[in-house]
């Protein structure tokens, strides 16, 4: 059967079960959009910026576990999607991005809107393809989805020149593909798993350190069983939140730079670290040479390069987390060691002491400025029974959300970890909402981050994606200001965002709903109101601009040396003056 490249493209998406794609057209992809326009199986969500499309694909993928798809044009369309590609590569998010390219005979000629798409994306994709012949298109798309979804997931880019989309070719979509240079290992090595079992039986102060890999591998049940069987405390990275129930008695919450006191102390003083689908990022290890100095390390990961990249590993297990945990559990059960749990009592006593010493708390005096932690806590209280999906941007609000919004299920937490991409939150929320129209999707944003992709409010309104955006508005790049307070004597260089925009008016301009709270007493009201409306909502919450996020391990510090509160020697900077003409309605900052 002969089809045009554009028809083949759409046919392939259908065979892959893709229901929704995110994109923005341009000259060389018009043919593809034209074909998409004439069918109903694949929904196209028109975004306002290609970065929005890329992050929406990521949000879709993270929430569903299925590949997210974006379609953009050549040149600037492609370059705009680079940030989401890098983001997805860092956080192992399976997305497939299709880019248009100038016709094959013009490639290399500096043609209009030509960019070296495969060259630009080579270092930030798991793999990429330039399709030179329409007859290869089906095979390539199959391989693209296969590579994105298998092994350690990641972004794949397929560059389609205009003539390939226009020309007719033979449609061939293989049922399965095999690539001789690509054979991910799923089964863990039995001998190593046996070593792990022995180490677990012997350990007196063990800790489980879970990363995002546990979520990609759908291993939450196996993880829960493993932890309950062994009664070992669980630390989660930012990416792993939800992989293990945050409210479970074995959970110590998030670890790392802004992790809980107990979680960081526990990993530091442990004698056995069981790392599961994690990659020992520097935001987790702190100073590598002082990371868990007395511990043996078991590392389970599907990507061999993650193992021994940053820290020494005693028992490496390359394999799929879910498969390995099953095997591990079976072997643990076969070699019972009834005493282990008993012998770890002192360890738990120690952990409970740490928990009691510095729990995650905050104070909210009723007549003081709104504390950002209080806002998160209240959103959590109002929504926890609704099983919401929560996305965040990047900064203090992200860390407060990670600390105070308790997640009990996987794929409910959308955040940019490895790259720390401001502007990720809102489009990611839209991607998740597009996948689950009936679910409650919340976005916890900073005023700085939100402004990086706020154009996508139009996408939300037009496509009836009723996300609830809560902006913790501190009129600062808050996380930057925090570092300036702590390490730059309070000089607020380029971190003050002034008093604009008015987010309520902005919401109204987009024909969305805008709400605002400036006092503690108003917080509950606006949250309830936001949850009632069946439209996209922006809630502007004027929070204490000088609140700092703790605990904090200073970059390069060791995990047991956390700052718990503003240090006495910290120098607070001066309140910046507003530069917005004739205005000083910045009441919050003056307060």
């Amino acid at each position: 059967m002969k089809l045009t490249g554009a028809e083949i493209f759409v046919e392939c998406l259908k065979r892959e079960g893709v229901k929704t794609i995110f994109g923005l057209p341009g000259g060389v992809v018009l043919k593809i959009f034209d074909v998409l326009h004439q069918q109903k199986d694949v929904e196209v969500i028109l975004t306002r910026h290609e970065a929005g499309a890329g992050h929406m694909a990521e949000g879709y993928a993270k929430a569903t576990g299925k590949p997210g798809v974006a379609l953009v044009t050549s040149g600037p369309g492609m370059t705009n999607v680079v940030t989401p590609l890098v983001d997805a590569y860092m956080d192992s998010v399976p997305i497939v991005v299709f880019t248009g390219q100038v016709p094959t005979h013009l490639i290399g000629n500096d043609a209009f809107q030509e960019a070296d798409n495969v060259g630009i994306s080579r270092p930030c994709t798991k793999y990429n393809f330039l399709v030179k012949d329409v007859n290869d298109l089906g095979q390539i798309i199959k391989e693209a989805f296969y590579i994105a979804m298998t092994g350690r997931p990641g972004p794949v880019l397929v560059d389609i020149p205009k003539d390939v989309a226009m020309n007719k070719g033979e449609f061939h979509y293989p049922d399965r593909v095999s690539i001789r240079g690509y054979n991910p290992t799923y089964e863990g090595n039995k001998w190593q798993i046996k070593q792990a079992v022995e180490a677990i039986h012997k350990a007196r102060k063990p800790i489980i350190y879970v990363g995002g890999g546990a979520i990609f591998s759908n291993a939450h049940e196996e993880l829960l069983e493993f932890a309950e069987l062994t009664q070992i405390p669980v630390d989660m990275t930012l990416m792993a939140l939800g992989a293990f129930p945050g409210s479970h008695p074995l959970s110590l919450g998030m670890m790392g730079m802004h992790g809980s006191y107990a979680s960081n102390m526990a990993v530091h003083f442990s004698d056995l670290v069981i790392a599961i689908g994690a990659r020992f990022d520097d935001r987790v290890t702190g100073k590598v040479s002082e990371f868990c100095p007395e511990a043996k390390v078991i590392h389970i990961d599907i990507d061999p390069t993650s193992i021994r990249k940053n820290v020494h590993v005693d028992i490496p297990i390359v394999g799929d987390v879910k498969t390995v945990l099953r095997e591990l559990k079976a072997m643990l059960k076969a070699t019972p060691n009834g005493n282990a749990v008993e012998q770890r009592k002192p360890w738990w006593n120690q952990i409970n002491e740490w928990k009691a010493k510095h729990p995650l708390t905050y104070e909210q005096p009723p007549d003081a400025l709104i504390k950002p932690q209080y806002v998160i806590d209240r959103i959590y209280q109002f929504t926890k029974d609704k099983d919401p999906i929560v996305s965040t941007d990047v900064g203090q609000h992200q860390m407060w959300a990670a600390q105070h919004f308790v997640l009990n299920k996987p794929r409910r937490w959308l955040t940019s970890g490895g790259l720390g991409t401001m502007g990720f939150g809102m489009p990611a929320a839209l991607g998740a909402q597009a996948a689950f129209r009936d679910k409650l999707v919340l976005c916890i944003a900073g005023d700085g981050s939100f402004q990086m992709n706020m154009q996508e409010m139009a996408t939300a309104v037009v496509n009836k994606l009723p996300v609830k955006v809560f902006i913790l508005n501190n009129h600062f790049h808050g996380m930057v200001r925090q570092w300036q307070d702590l390490f730059y004597e309070g000089r607020y260089a380029s971190s003050y965002l002034d008093t604009v925009p008015d987010f309520v008016k902005l919401a109204e301009a987009f024909n969305a709903v805008g709400l605002r709270a400036t006092k503690v007493g108003e917080v509950d009201g606006v949250i309830k109101e936001a949850l009632k409306v069946d439209k996209p909502v922006i809630v502007d919450l004027e929070v204490d601009p000088y609140e700092n996020c703790y605990p904090m391990i200073p970059a390069g510090g060791s995990n047991h040396e956390m700052i718990i509160e503003d240090p006495p020697e910290m120098k607070r900077g001066e309140k910046p003056a507003s530069k917005v003409a004739g205005e000083d309605k910045d009441a919050v900052l003056t307060a």
């Binding site: 495969v118 080579r122 590579i147 001789r180 240079g181 054979n183 990507d303």
Partner: protein, 174 residues
């Protein structure tokens, strides 16, 4: 420490850049690199000479294996191997030096591959020490130009296995 790594790759567009990107992106050094198709024209063999401690070399080998177009990676330092490099050395020769140049070439079993009244181009092949020794001796005569292929290397066949059936090359078992 110096390592010679053989990398069997798909013979297709962009592969060299994937491998080169990996080294530059992660801050590893490439000292020499040579690439050519293998007996099976769908594959190429790259020989990469690099440097690093055990930890870095372990990462390099793993990272190379992770590249989807890479079919097999062998760190040749893990066994016995033979290596060769070829240099083409163009030297200025005054009349009185021409005999000396030929003598040096001869010592290293080099060949004169081009000659003019004032120059010789000498081809020399051998392990890297031999090639460098030859260059060093020729240099005082007046080096005009020099190109080197970079090193290629191949594992020595263990004597016992040599008699057995030839094995197919498979992707490294992980």
């Amino acid at each position: 420490m110096e390592h010679i790594i053989s990398v069997l790759v798909e013979n297709k567009f962009g592969v060299l850049s994937r491998v080169a990107n990996l080294f530059s992106g992660r801050g590893y050094n490439i000292e020499t690199l040579s690439v050519a198709p293998t007996l099976d024209p769908s594959m190429s063999m790259m020989t990469i000479v690099t440097r690093g401690d055990d930890k870095i070399i372990e990462q390099i080998v793993k990272q190379l294996n992770k590249v989807i177009d890479v079919i097999k990676v062998v760190d040749l330092n893990e066994s016995e191997f033979v290596e060769r490099e070829t240099a083409l050395i163009k030297i200025h020769t005054r009349q009185e030096d021409r005999a000396e140049a030929l003598r040096i070439a001869d010592i290293f079993r080099g060949k004169v591959v081009d000659s003019t009244p004032t120059t010789y181009t000498i081809e020399v092949t051998g392990d890297v020490r031999k090639v460098e020794a030859c260059i060093n001796l020729l240099q005082p005569l007046g080096l005009k130009d020099l190109v080197r292929t970079g090193r290629v290397a191949i594992a020595r066949e263990p004597v016992r296995q040599a008699a057995a059936q030839p094995k197919r090359i498979l992707k490294e078992e992980k």
